[in-house]
């Protein structure tokens, strides 16, 4: 009996010592960052599939079940997940990961956002007065978030702190190298038309002009009038049209046909479980696509 108890205690102690930090990432790009920084010391669950627009998900019970047992939730933030994450958190019955607690991490709070402010008027579409939340298209900003994430993970698992910081530093180093190369590659790129404001960070980083958007207003599907105006204003100039895999292709195809430009549909997120290499590969695909 005593021995049994001892074994049981040992098992519990061993179990807690080897315990990973259970992290729930909202989208695969954030999941990638957690895997990169956390390595073996974290177990990551991703709530959204890569081929979905994270603006328009719905809170599902399985999200709540995952959040119930999480030590840390890692969100993009800046209201990207506002349509479903609050409901999922509310239903999770887990005080540790509520907004404001140690277990809630929002990347947007740890980097600088563009397009901050602006009128909080929905007549202007699905606006984000808190700033453009798609910073995950900027490897340098992701590196900043990685450093902050390393600090947060270190609070949760101090025994791995050195490793977390080393991993974040390595990611940052890689990000700088990639960005340098990409910037050289896109020099003289003609500019691009995007579907939504989701690639703005990359365009800004690489110094590529944004010539227009397929959407007339954020979150509002393209209208014929807007598309013909867009074509009219861009006729005779050079550029490319890029959009994400979950964005409908009819509008971009129309504009590309009218202008004689190339158009390309690319993933917005890495696959679930992907590593930083896959992330840089994804950013690189967009970069290459900016150069016709």
């Amino acid at each position: 009996m005593k021995r049994l108890l001892l074994i049981l205690i040992l098992m519990v102690v061993a179990g807690s010592a080897a315990a990973e930090v259970r992290v729930v990432a909202t989208v695969p790009n954030m999941g990638m960052l957690v895997e990169t920084v956390g390595g073996d010391a974290v177990h990551v669950t991703v709530l959204a599939p890569p081929d979905r627009d994270a603006h328009y998900l719905e809170a599902r019970p399985s999200m709540m079940a995952a959040l119930r047992r999480a030590d840390l939730v890692v969100a993009v933030g800046a209201e990207l997940e506002v349509g479903w994450l609050p409901a999922a958190l509310q239903g999770a019955h887990n005080p540790g990961v509520q907004v404001g607690r140690q277990g809630y991490f929002e990347g947007a709070a740890h980097t600088t956002l563009i397009q901050v402010g602006g009128a909080a008027d929905r007549a202007l579409g699905d606006v984000h007065p808190a700033g453009n939340p798609h910073y995950y298209f900027d490897p340098l900003r992701m590196a900043e978030v990685a450093e902050a994430l390393a600090a947060r993970l270190s609070e949760l698992a101090p025994q791995h702190a050195d490793r977390f910081h080393a991993n974040a530093d390595e990611f940052a180093e890689q990000a700088r190298e990639h960005v340098e190369r990409m910037q050289a590659r896109t020099e003289g790129a003609p500019g691009a038309v995007f579907y939504h404001k989701d690639v703005d960070y990359l365009a800004e980083l690489l110094g590529v002009d944004i010539l227009g958007y397929i959407e007339p207003l954020p979150g509002i599907p393209p209208t014929a009038r807007h598309l013909s105006e867009l074509v009219g204003s861009l006729r005779g100039s050079e550029g490319v049209i890029l959009y994400a895999d979950f964005q409908p292709s009819r509008g971009p195809e129309f504009v590309a046909r009218e202008l004689g430009w190339s158009q390309q549909q690319l993933p917005n997120q890495v696959d679930i479980g992907a590593d930083s290499e896959a992330y840089f590969e994804l950013i690189n695909r967009w970069t290459e696509a900016l150069v016709p």
């Binding site: 019970p61 800046a78 994450l85 808190a130 340098l140 800004e204 599907p221």
Partner: protein
């Protein structure tokens, strides 16, 4: 001597304060040095990042002004806990800069506010009867208030919702429905934020978590009106009660939630409560020389008094993970009310009363499919719920025999005091499909009284009242088409055919707009 004392005291105080201050000063100096060191490190880091940023922007053309202002507190949640004192990330706490240039945290601490406006136009081919056995006929008073729709234009309500965090321990939500001449508190409750072990408590006035559609508001419905099940089994406002709820989310891989509710017990369908009181009637009869003479009739109703809580409910919800495209949730629930009472006063001076208790049991199913199509395109939602209800009551039909006495009506050998066991049920099944971006169409079938053991309040061949009367089921078939330009607005058209047992069949035609303003909270599943 006095001077010496004063000097001595001054010296003591002075030395005392010096002694007390000395280590504090040193500590402060150390702290300041540490802070300065940290500040230097941060400054260096900022400069390094700025240099990098300048380098990356060097290739950028002119005119592309880059807004490098730090983000104001990103309001991450629709439920409002934006400003939490336990926030470890100071960026979230930064005060918002107001339009006038002042910096204030005013807006950041205010609750999230939303206003939802709902209006309808309705046309019916005939009077819409209540399904047989559900004619709420025992209380002619309450009719169809609440969300009932009448013919012509209706502004159903402007629903005003405030949500926010009270402190690190509680969230609060208050929803008021404002109609043309009334303000009704629809829900007002607090929920806990910090209970351990997956527990959450709720207290206040709230829509019970039994079933699926019961706790939804008009804005969440896929149809203009609510299913019969919610309206007929629970009440016009559903099961909306004052009380407390405790729920537990089990730490399983599969979502499993259990809940118990202790409620006051006032909902008309399962827990209506009157309590004892006097039945009163005033008549004016001609006396001598046709002078009007007023008579007051007064007698005890003899209904049971019982303080709340009287209604106890429980539920379980289970939702296996079916991947990203599919979601399903199954639920079972039940409730027991210690009291169910009703009365009907007739102008003849006859009083009918029902006094007993009631129980209900039910099941619910929701299945959602979504492949991430544009604006709901290709999404499908299947929803079904069933509720069975039993009421064990004592029925009495009594009549004034003089100004202060009620006596049972009916044959003298079998007067109208009868035990009744009402057994009734209702269900709905609906499917809604997003047939194009922004558009969805849905079909719903409502059934009420598939089991329909009711009791008649008319007289039988030997003059007895309150005798058993097994009634037929009533059916309603509804189709709707919705156009939702954005997630904040929707326009809907709906047609229903009512196949009412013991009443007219009738068509209903309805148009609806439902718009929301302000912070639009995330939808629960």
């Amino acid at each position: 001597m006095r001077t010496v004392w004063i000097l001595a005291l001054t010296a003591v105080f002075a030395s005392g304060s010096v002694v007390a201050e000395k280590p504090t000063l040193e500590e402060l100096m150390r702290k300041i040095e540490a802070l300065e060191e940290r500040d230097r490190e941060r400054q260096e880091r900022i400069e390094r990042l700025e240099t990098e940023l300048r380098a990356t922007q060097a290739v950028e053309e002119e005119g592309e002004a880059v807004d490098e202002r730090p983000a104001p507190a990103p309001a991450a949640t629709g439920t409002g806990p934006q400003a939490d004192p336990l926030d470890p990330t100071p960026a979230r706490m930064r005060a918002r800069s107001m339009g006038t240039g002042e910096v204030t945290s005013g807006t950041a601490f205010n609750p999230a506010i939303s206003v939802i406006l709902d209006g309808t136009y309705a046309h019916f081919s005939d009077h819409i009867d209540d399904p047989a056995g559900f004619d709420s006929g025992h209380s002619h008073g309450h009719g169809h208030g609440g969300h009932g729709i009448s013919e012509g234009f209706n502004l159903r309500e402007a629903e005003l919702t405030f949500t926010g965090s009270v402190d690190p321990y509680f969230d609060m939500m208050v929803t008021a429905g404002i109609t043309a001449n009334d303000i009704e508190l629809e829900e007002a409750y607090i929920t806990t934020r910090g209970l351990p072990a997956g527990l959450q408590a709720k207290a206040g006035k709230f829509l019970s978590d039994v079933g699926y559609i019961n706790k939804q508001h008009i804005h969440d419905w896929f149809f203009v009106d609510q299913p019969w099940m919610r309206e007929l089994m629970f009440g016009d406002e559903g099961l909306n009660e004052v009380g407390v709820q405790l729920s537990w989310l089990a730490p399983f891989d599969t979502y499993t939630r259990f809940g118990l509710e202790v409620l006051e017990g006032t909902s008309s369908g399962v827990a209506s409560y009157i309590g004892d009181g006097r039945h009163e009637m005033v008549t004016v009869l001609p006396g001598e020389d046709n002078q009007p003479i007023r008579n007051r009739w007064r007698a005890d109703k003899n209904l049971r008094d019982r303080d709340g809580p009287r209604l106890f409910t429980g539920f379980v919800k289970w939702a296996p993970d079916l991947g990203f495209d599919h979601a399903i949730q199954l639920g079972a629930f039940g409730g027991v009310s210690q009291v169910w009472q009703d009365e009907t006063a007739h102008s003849s001076g006859r009083l009918e009363t029902w006094d007993g208790d009631s129980q209900f049991i039910g099941a619910d199913l929701v299945y959602k499919y979504g492949r991430g199509g544009l604006m709901g395109h290709g999404n499908f939602v299947l929803q079904a719920e069933y509720v069975y209800r039993e009421r064990d009551v004592e029925y009495q039909s009594r009549q004034f025999t003089d100004f202060s006495n009620l006596a049972l009506t009916g044959p003298s050998d079998d007067p109208d005091r009868r035990d009744q066991t009402w057994k009734q049920d209702a269900f709905y099944l609906q499917g809604v499909y997003g047939f194009a971006p922004r558009w969805n169409a849905g079909l719903r079938i409502d059934g009420a009284g598939l089991t329909n053991r009711a009791y008649n309040d008319g007289t039988d061949s030997v003059g007895r009242r309150g005798m058993r009367d097994d009634l037929d089921a009533s059916w309603r078939y509804t189709g709707q088409v919705t156009f939702a330009p954005t997630e904040f607005s929707r326009l809907r058209g709906q047609v229903s055919y009512n196949d009412i047992a013991g009443g007219h069949d009738a068509w209903q035609f309805m148009l609806q707009y439902n718009m929301s303003l302000g912070v639009h909270g995330a939808h629960a599943f």
